[in-house]
């Protein structure tokens, strides 16, 4: 199985003897080209078109984060899996408002199910203090099938998410307080962790979409064009509670991350290199965690579940099987 490689060092990435080499003052570090699933760049790295072409030839996606650890861009090589038939149908499902909202609703329905699952897991462990939030979310969730249009649905989604985030301080036992979710830039450590986690989720999903016939720019919940690859945002909704939020809770509750992993600069916080590494390690562990899949009758990793979600979308889009999102059964 190929792996993601995470580059934290600085230096120059070169194509050398038909493989990849990172060169810096410490020397040369070779990365086997045939072992790379996707490349994450956190360090300050130079590379040239020769190396980009080489990634393209080998169908490797590259995700780049800036000095502050914010995701900035991805290199998405030319599509290697094309189905004109499926693409036409993917667009059709977007153009038809009834079909579009159906998919968007199922996305939120699934995401909120997984959100509740997290809350219900922690509720008995936190003296039932999450009970109120759970009840409110359950109430909001009932409105999903009756939402009128995407705006309305987004409103419901927003309220669910606000409620959910208000439970984060309880789940993490007050270690990381957060009043309100603030993005761009995040204004406290918890917001920083969420932003970082969500951007990782986006890139992981994008790399999986790349391995399928789905077009990453056509989405249903999010407006295409909201970001370049908006389908990745749609699918991320399903997996954020399962993968990133659980990673964050674990990092905080088990004391793996604390104030020392952040740099306070002006009015916002950012994860320093040590913090990013700890996060990445736990995130990667989560992706590689396996569970038994009932239908497939085999062990699958969380990462693979993302791919399976893409397959389900392909089947839905082509009218083979209605999409039912992944609702945490474990």
């Amino acid at each position: 199985m190929k792996r993601n490689y995470y580059i934290f060092s600085n230096g120059r990435i070169k194509r050398k003897d038909n493989t990849i080499c990172l060169e810096n003052e410490k020397g040369k570090k070779y990365i086997p080209i045939n072992d790379i699933e996707a490349l994450y760049i956190f360090g300050e790295v130079d590379f040239n078109s020769k190396v980009l072409n080489f990634f393209g030839q080998n169908n490797i996606t590259v995700h780049i984060f800036n000095y502050y650890g914010f995701y900035t861009s991805s290199i998405y090589p030319r599509e290697h899996l094309l189905s004109g038939y499926s693409l036409v149908n993917q667009v059709k499902k977007y153009l038809d408002p009834v079909e579009r909202i159906k998919l968007a609703r199922e996305t939120i329905n699934t995401a909120s199910y997984n959100i509740l699952k997290n809350l219900k897991y922690y509720n008995p462990r936190r003296n039932e203090k999450l009970e109120d939030i759970i009840l409110k979310i359950e109430k909001e969730r009932k409105k999903i099938p009756y939402t009128n249009g995407i705006q309305d649905l987004m409103g419901t989604e927003g309220r669910i998410r606000d409620l959910y985030y208000s439970g984060f301080s309880i789940i993490t036992m007050g270690k990381f307080k957060m009043k309100k979710r603030v993005k761009r830039p995040p204004d406290n450590p918890m917001n920083t962790l969420i932003s970082f986690g969500n951007s990782l989720m986006y890139t992981t999903v994008l790399s999986e979409i790349y391995r399928t016939q789905l077009n990453p720019t056509i989405s249903y919940l999010h407006e295409p064009g909201e970001r370049r690859f908006s389908l990745s945002l749609d699918i991320s909704e399903v997996f954020k509670p399962i993968i990133t939020d659980r990673t964050i809770f674990k990092l905080i509750n088990e004391g793996m991350i604390d104030q020392n992993h952040f740099t306070k600069e002006l009015n916002f916080c950012h994860l320093n290199e040590k913090g990013r590494k700890v996060f990445m390690q736990q995130y990667e562990d989560k992706l590689n965690t396996v569970i038994k899949h009932k239908e497939l009758e085999r062990q699958v990793s969380y990462r693979r579940l993302i791919r399976l979600e893409c397959y389900k979308l392909i089947k839905h889009i082509n009218d083979i099987e209605n999409y039912e999102g992944l609702k945490m059964w474990w």
Partner: protein, 168 residues
Amino acid sequence: MSLSDAMHATGVEVNYYFICKRKLWYFTHGITMEHNSTRVEIGKEVHKNSFKRKNKEIMIDNQICLDFIDKELIINETKLTKAMNDATRYQILYYIYYLENKGIKQVKGIVHYPKSKKREIIELDGEERQVLDKVLKFIYAIKKSNSPPSLEKKRKCKKCSYYELCFS
């Protein structure tokens, strides 16, 4: 449907027809999964390393891909295992049939199994000609159809590169 429509099938399509019609539907609609499969990758590698000196992979009419042809017009095809016997046989029979329709007669086929170092000789007879006539019509219909044949879980599914797509 004219003969020329039917002849638009490729060897792989004939092969898939005998393995699984649902897989054939996905494949002909561009939803391919072969890139995920270690088995397919091994097959390619074995293929690449067998018969190194002969001309490999000859494309005819951009339509059928023959593994290699010897001097006396023998179609050679390499396969990993003997498991998909009918599929392999008809793939080659189709090549012979195709060439016949182009006026090239008396072609023989040989399937090589490099792993077990065995081979099998294949010739086209009248009955098989009729089977192929029908099969080509079915393939044509599957390609034109907007929905795939229904799902059936069989033992062979687990080894198929489309398994995760079908059962996700």
